[in-house]
Amino acid sequence: MSAAARDAQAAAPATAPAIRARGMSKRFGELQAVDRVDLTVPRACVYGFLGPNGSGKSTTIRMLCGLLTPSAGEIEVLGLKIPEQAEALRRRIGYMTQKFSLFEDLSVRENLEFLAAVQDIPKAAARTRIDALIEQYRFGDRQNQLAGTMSGGQKQRLALAGAVIHEPELLFLDEPTSAVDPESRRDFWEKLFELADAGTTLLVSTHYMDEAERCHRLAILDRGALVADGTPAELTGALQGRAVEVRAAQPRKAQRALVDLPGVLSVAQIGNDLRVLLADADTAEQGLTDALRAAGLEAEVAKAKPNLEDVFVAATRGQTPGAAAAREERA
């Protein structure tokens, strides 16, 4: 278990976590899609899954919903053993799939009516709930429009409305904003925080850094393994002093001069600047300046505030304490 996860449990001993998984693994033939993931998700928070495509985010979510049977490990969601008690869990969770999975040839209202009925909401209550959702998710003037004719952002909003129609305790969202413009994304996240405020636990997967930054807590997945987890502040705080900004006249050349230096984890160009991630905070910027001068380049070197991208790079290169702990536990 990572240090961050241990802290989370210590902080909230009264309520059991929404999700607890130990050694959760999934193998598809030769491919180890998810590799011994330990996970603790506290209630009423927005918990992020950050990772590149193919890092096992969707597979993990599907296992937690009971849609996929894990190859190994123990999963407990809302106090229910998964996959054994998956059927009982279905009434208590909402799941927003990565691909739009409502019916494109049904209207907004028809889709919601269908979902209300299959979620066992009594007829009268369903009508009130649907009216409220249509109002809240701003579908008032297009409730008779076919879902297939709407924009990406509108579809996502409808999918969210559909996923919460039965007011689930726990909501899984698999890359909910991957096909949505920035404006709609901001709007969408507002809705997620409203839900979290109302006591819903949300598990959101994403590959956007800015979205990950919004989460209360975060787990970073890489090639099926959980490499770091904690609050965004904890994760970036652990990298204090390791992020450096280099302003050089010829950034491409400077990048080549720095990339093979000992103690340099990565060098990425951001506009005219270079962002350098160091293996540890004690590595002096002086070394960088010297190397640049040796290559005949003028440059300004300054410490920078670490961000989640740095965390991600550091974690996927196996240099954070969290990841080291996770590896030890697996070994």
């Binding site: 009971g66 849609l67 059927e87 799939t97 409502l102 019916f103 269908f114 066992d120 559909g162």
Partner: protein, 362 residues
């Protein structure tokens, strides 16, 4: 199973179907198209084959015999010939399909009981050949009083004395159309939801497998009944095909086949990975249903392995039921073997389909 959830699935299917103009059109176009195609074009008992007569005897009896043959309607004379050689020439040139040659010693042959007449046939078409074979069965003496040394075999066609194909084909066509559309619609309907990602959403809801399966097939069962009605009405109107038995029995038989095919479609949907595969498997079922069931070729004439295979197909049993009810006026109780088989088939397939369907992705 909860009625509200089941009804939600049915309503959803109906709403989707209502917006799917092409499928909606196919529901009516398939029966109409097939009926016209099979009813008019495919005629296994040809009538009005082109013929010529060379009557070298020219007696009253020979003329009467030739007239009897023409009266069957199987042939119609389009040319005149004086000698059998001329007939052969006409046959070779394709001017006629059938030549009727009466030898000069017709009367003597008749008395001796020898071959009195020759029917020459363009044997390159087996259907024409078999039609001519019927022709050769025409009784030599129309007057029953005259003693016959050779008793020509009279073919008496019960239930379809005019040997009109539509009478045989229309009842069977109900089966073909139901097999084609029902299996295809259901198998594709479920696979499509899987392809579009709807299934991933559905299986995370409390909907049960049985609700999902039954809710999906019910609207199609209704479509099947509409198609049955279209074929029956068109059959009556265009081809004068009667329903000798009870109409209720016809619909019960149709419901049995509809359910059997829907269950089969569901079974396919649990196997097929894509809509294309579902279509392929449908054709795989459809072809033997048309060829082996007795719809096109008589069941009795097939080799034993083909008969075993035919026995498995719901279509074979339906065909026995529907021909029995519509053409012979039989009741379903008299045909209980086939009713029982269809019921068993439905139960087995439905159970298999539901148990094979998992609310899982793996």
């Amino acid at each position: 199973m909860k009625l509200r959830r089941l009804w939600a699935i049915v309503l959803k299917e109906v709403r989707q179907l209502r917006r799917d103009r092409i499928t909606l059109a196919m529901i009516v176009m398939i029966p109409v198209g097939q009926l016209v195609l099979f009813g008019y074009a495919i005629n296994l008992n040809p009538r009005g084959l082109t013929a010529a007569v060379a009557d070298q005897a020219g007696t009253a009896a020979s003329r009467a015999l030739v007239m009897d043959m023409i009266a069957t309607g199987v042939v119609r004379t389009v040319a005149h010939a004086d000698t059998p050689q001329q007939l052969v020439g006409m046959l070779r040139r394709g001017e006629i399909s059938v030549g009727i040659a009466v030898p000069p010693d017709f009367e003597r042959r008749r008395v001796d009981g020898r071959e009195v007449l020759q029917v020459m046939v363009d044997g390159s078409d087996t259907v024409v050949q078999s039609a001519a074979a019927q022709l050769a069965q025409t009784p030599v003496d129309s007057s029953a009083a005259a003693p016959r040394k050779t008793a020509p075999i009279g073919v008496v066609a019960f239930y379809n004395p005019q040997r009109r194909s539509p009478v045989n084909i229309v009842p069977g066509l109900i089966g073909v159309i139901l097999t084609m559309t029902m299996v295809m619609f259901t198998s594709v309907a479920i696979v499509r939801e899987r392809e579009r990602g709807n299934m991933e959403l559905l299986i995370t809801t409390p909907v049960s497998r049985t609700e999902l399966m039954i809710g999906k097939v019910l609207p199609y069962a209704l479509i099947g009944l509409i198609q049955t009605t279209v074929v029956l009405l068109l059959g009556l109107w265009l081809f004068d095909v009667p329903v000798k038995g009870s109409v209720l029995d016809v619909y019960i038989a149709a419901v049995l086949l509809i359910l059997a095919n829907l269950a089969l479609g569901l079974m396919i949907s649990t196997k097929a990975g894509s809509q294309f595969q579902a279509m392929q498997m449908t054709v795989f079922i459809l072809l033997p249903s048309i060829l082996l069931s007795g719809f096109m070729f008589p069941y009795a004439g097939m080799p034993a392995p083909a008969q075993w295979l035919a026995e498995v197909l719901p279509m074979t049993h339906f065909l026995r039921l529907i021909r029995g009810v519509m053409l012979r006026g039989a009741g379903l109780l008299e045909l209980w073997h086939d009713v029982a088989y269809l019921l068993g088939f439905i139960a087995v397939m439905m159970t298999l389909a539901v148990s094979r369907f998992r609310k899982r992705l793996d």
